[in-house]
Amino acid sequence: MAIKKIAFIVEKLPYKSETSRLALTHAIASQTVEIHLEDGDNVEPVLAFVGDGVLNCLKNQKALEVYGVSSLEAHVKNALLLDLRVLVCKEDLEGFGLTEDSIVMDAEEIGGEVTTQVVPYEEIQQDLESADHLMFF
């Protein structure tokens, strides 16, 4: 019986590859794996956006009209809807001249109850150190 903490770290820009979309899909899907595990076993995901990856969280993405695909913004909102811990690196966000107003901080309009946490990298690093598995995207 164990809870395995898995950190999904998104470092890549959104679009033109499936990389960050895969991170979100896997993080969200990890919420269902308990049905295939032994009693008491489960997965605790944490989703961290660092470096260029913080741009996946931008508001008002025009993915459908530019690339003809669904928006990463919508996937971030879905992660919040499902109560995933979503962390965004404060320093990297500031490096792009962005603030919390520029990114998806909640998913209230679809019933989400948790919010994005913009935190110093040091806090993200603590999460990475306490994780059983790290997955970089």
Partner: protein, 83 residues
């Protein structure tokens, strides 16, 4: 087995248009807020969730479950009683 659909649901969850894994995860989240013995009604058109993942979850957690397929509407109503 109890006739769950005859019991007034404590909550209803509409996940029409959402595909796996959302119906299961949103069902889990809703069930966590219910008290033991209360019934959750889930409305879903995601066949894989209705026939596979949600039943597996209910079995694992000892919840009674009853599914009604509404052929004319193209979706299912799932009644789940929290253990």
């Amino acid at each position: 087995m109890a006739d769950l659909k005859s019991i007034e649901p404590a909550a209803t969850l509409d996940v029409l248009g959402r595909v796996c894994p959302y119906p299961l995860v949103l069902t889990k989240k809703k069930l966590e807020k219910l008290n033991s013995g209360e019934v959750l009604k889930v409305i879903s058109d995601a066949q894989a969730s209705v026939e596979d993942s949600i039943p597996k979850y209910c079995e694992k957690h000892g919840c009674e479950m009853e599914t009604v397929k509404l052929e004319d509407k193209g979706y299912w109503e799932i009644y789940i009683q929290k253990k």
